[in-house]
Amino acid sequence: MNMMQVIQSVVWAVLLWPCLVSLGVPLECKDEQGSIILCASISKEKLLDRVIQHAELIYRVSEESCTLFEEMFVPFPMRSQRNHAGYTCATKAFPIPGSKSEIQQISDKWLLHSVLILVQSWIEPLVYLQTTLDRYDDAPDTLLKKTKWVSEKLLSLEQGVVVLIRKMLDDDMLTTSYYEQGVAPYNLQPEVLESVLRDYTLLSCFKKDAHKMETFLKLLKCRQTDKYSCFLH
């Protein structure tokens, strides 16, 4: 099952590669007269589909990573209690809607921007997580590979969302964040329970946020096709 998903993620990466290539080129699908010019870009719907699939894949891999880590390092009594004191997920800059009703009240723009913020907020911690997991003595290879893959794919997701925003919202002001090898908190004792719990919290929070991204994007998609039916529920 894991192998299958890895393969799937690789396939998606290959599929999304032209998307990444096209990001460097300004998308000029409409000239000044408004006539449609054939440009080397994809449509919004297809792009949104691809972004959604990408998000789904990220979520699935993150879920597997979290499960692996939990089985490997987390003692059993602590598994269900994800929110120990002091190990809650980091709060975001702006409030993320927590219920469907709230989400349905958010506009498309806000949805997209929320996704973008989420993605951008996790790039760095995932890099940190990678280094931390490398220091574990008996961390399984699959866990390391998955986390590495996730951090890479998160970058591409970010780029996709940026393009999407640009396309849908005609907002060209956003730029992709550049990853900087920042100074990450250095974990001296990786296998101590404290650090283990910290890492575990990190993974589960990321898993949650990945699900958020997926849900937002799917809601967005619904709004694109049939705005009214999406809200009727």
Partner: protein
Amino acid sequence: MMWRDVGVTLILSLILPVVAQGARHTPPGKPKLTSCRSPDKETFTCWWEAGSDGGRPTTYSLFYHKENSETVYECPDYRTAGANSCFFNKNETSIWVNYNITVVATNALGSNFSDPVDVDVVYIVQPHTPENVTVGVLDDKDGPFLRVSWEPPRKADTRSGWITLIYELRVKLEEAEEWEEHRAGQQKMFNIFSLHSGGVYMVQVRCKPDHGFWSEWSTASYVQVPDYIPRERSMWILIAVFSAFIFLILIWIITMNRTSVKHCLLPPVPGPKIKGFDKQLLKKGKPEEVFNALVVQSFPPRSTDYEDLLVEYLEVYVNEKQELMLEGKDLQDVGCLKSKSQSDNDSGRGSCDSHTLLMEKCVGVESKEESSYEEPELLQGQAGSWERLERGDSQEVDTPDSSDGRVKTWPSVFSPSNHHYGTLEIPKQHSTSEITYSIPDHLFPTSTSFSHHHHPEYRDSLGEYSEYRLSRSPSAGVAYHWKAQHPQAHSNFNIHNLERQKEATGLPPSRSMEYVEVQKVNQENQLVLKPLSSHGRGPFQVQFGGAGVDYSKVNGVNNDNVLLLQRQREMAEAGRYCDYQKEGGSAERYPTQQQGKTAKDGPVATQLQESTCLTASGYVDTAPTMPTF
């Protein structure tokens, strides 16, 4: 004192239950949250189970607080979901937020808190079962197939993408035991192929969000598949036809090889086979005919084909007792020169070889006159031929069986002619008292000097044979029986001697026989015989009386065509034979007999003295021994 103790115990026994009853009321036991589920990721319900109630009515209440706030809320709805449950509606449900839920049991005496449980709605989603499961049979060019379709549960919002469901269905024949499961992914329709014709299928569907729990299986839907291929029946028909075909072929093969099969299974019992035996005659009940049929005419073998009847040796009987006397009357029995045949092992002549018998024969011969001349016959053939020859001349001779004193030559080379007569020709010219017997070729054929007035056909045929024979049988003894032969008879046997002419006139009626001694064999292969009358007859007659007589037996013919005679001794009384060695020196005398000496007849006494034994082979005493009387 005892009364006091009894009273205290009684009181205590009354008080304790009351006290105990009061002690039953305790604070409630610890409740426990069993599960929380959300069917649509928008609402959720939690259930708990109660601990011991402590004897008092207890109330349960659920309190929660969200992840990042300390505000504790109580469960908004205790009733919707049933007893011991708490229902959170949409407004109170936040996803991606951990709820910390605690249940409190309270009674009059106290309260008890359950362990807190963290719940994130996103992860506790368990949808309802899919709805409107429909199964239909559709036809395709390859055969019918099932199409199953369903709808997502009503509450799950898959349209807006809030929940993404994946489906799974399972199929089995109604009578089968194991289900066949298929993953359908996110589609709401599925095809099932390769159906059993005429079977009834059961189908069930369930769903699951991409992260969550599986729903329950939907209620089974039944579908009947029509009979589209009577495959099994046609297969059986094909098998039946094929096996019938093979069966017919087998029958045909067995019929063609009926006999060999019968031989194989029931091997024939071998029955007795007798040549000439006719079972039918036996069945008819006429055994005489049957047995007559068994009589083979060709048995005993006649003298027709003597080439097969190879004879080992040539035996010449020279009866010691009866020496041929040429002068005189009794020359008709010239052929009575015999040598007593000893008990040859290879011929049954012993019993017949008593001199008395011989005497009778000779007497009989004498009486026969000319007509009774018998041809010296070279009897040919086997021992059995003796009889035949005997028979051939039976009218002339009242002879005993042939074993006595016959010239027995069995050369097989005798051509089938009944006139096998050994010819011993005795030239008449010999005026001496010698009798020369010319041994015909066929008797003693050698390369030289046998007279050739005989059946030429015999000559060659006998040529080597007789010589071979004779040389081979030094021990066997050659017995000659020369019978007086009528010259006019178709024989060539002529005993030429002086007395012969006398003989020709008639057979002297004397009872005695004249014997001749073979002196030598001359160059012409003629036996030179010398009558033994010079020795006086008396001795012979004495010998006739029963004393032992000398018989000359030809021991053999050496290279010089010399008859080697050897006298044998015999008991006068009886034919007692003893070892040859006891004769003492007869072997010594043997080499001296180069010339074919005369067989010394030696008086009986002498002979008796010398030896009382006869050798088995009957040799002529070749050594000149002086008769002692």
